[in-house]
């Protein structure tokens, strides 16, 4: 289960909205081992594409150095789908390399009748996708 504050959900959704029609992506870091998302870090989609995202390689190194120095880990890795539902694609699954992270997907499309800005969370471990419940709280 992912427990996250309303404020962080709002920031992720706002980022996805702002970058639409391109995919938006980023991380919410938290203290190592805490499973608590705290620090919102929007990333540049170096692919600048409506169908693909990739963190810029220089930004990626800086991000991981910084998290290492602060004893943090990527609790959430998020990105948006702009024309399909908020479910991991085959591409998402094959490049999911953080088995400890919650993979959050936001859809900025309304193709499946579930409404705008679906916000869903998954674990992706060794190619296996498991959707998990999202609990939104005011504060931890």
């Amino acid at each position: 289960m992912l427990t996250i504050t309303q404020a962080l959900v709002d920031r992720i959704v706002a980022h996805a909205r702002k970058d639409h029609p391109d995919e938006a992506c980023g991380v919410v870091a938290g203290p190592a081992g805490s499973d608590r998302p705290e620090r919102f870090i929007p990333m540049l989609n170096a692919a600048m594409s409506p169908t693909f995202y990739e963190f810029d390689s220089g930004d990626l190194l800086k991000l991981y150095r910084e998290m290492d120095d602060r004893d943090e880990e990527p609790v959430i890795v998020y990105h948006s789908h702009t024309a399909t539902e908020a479910y991991p694609s085959r591409t998402d699954i094959s490049y999911a390399n953080e088995p400890g992270a919650h993979y959050v997907l936001v859809s900025t499309a309304d193709t499946d009748g579930l409404g705008d800005f679906q916000f869903r969370s998954y674990r992706i471990v060794e190619g296996e996708v498991t959707e998990e419940e999202v609990t939104i709280v005011e504060a931890y």
Binding site: Y53, L60, V77, G100
Partner: protein, 92 residues
């Protein structure tokens, strides 16, 4: 002296959980072959068909080696190599 190689979480299963290991070689290709002798299986996660895998980033002292000589980039004692899987995906 040797070259320090920083290992991402996903590959630490090959290094008994160690975040950094040491290796030797004159190029990245040699370095990864040397790593393989002590951490069997790791090379194939980084190298495919003699080239760096597209979605694995390798940095030599903070520089993405794609902007250097890729897998043939020269390395020397005291250098620092960082391996980071790309964070990528999308509906495509």
């Amino acid at each position: 002296m040797a070259i320090e190689v920083r290992i991402p979480t996903i590959l630490r299963t090959y290094t008994d959980g160690q975040k950094a290991v040491e290796a030797n070689g004159d190029t990245l290709a040699e370095l990864f072959a040397d790593l393989e002798t002590r951490h069997a299986g790791i090379q194939a996660r980084i190298v495919d068909g003699g080239e760096l895998r597209r979605f694995v980033n390798v940095y030599l002292n903070d520089e993405d080696v794609r902007f250097l000589d890729g897998i043939n980039t020269k390395v020397a004692d005291g250098d620092n190599v960082t391996i980071l899987p790309a964070v990528a995906g999308g509906m495509a």
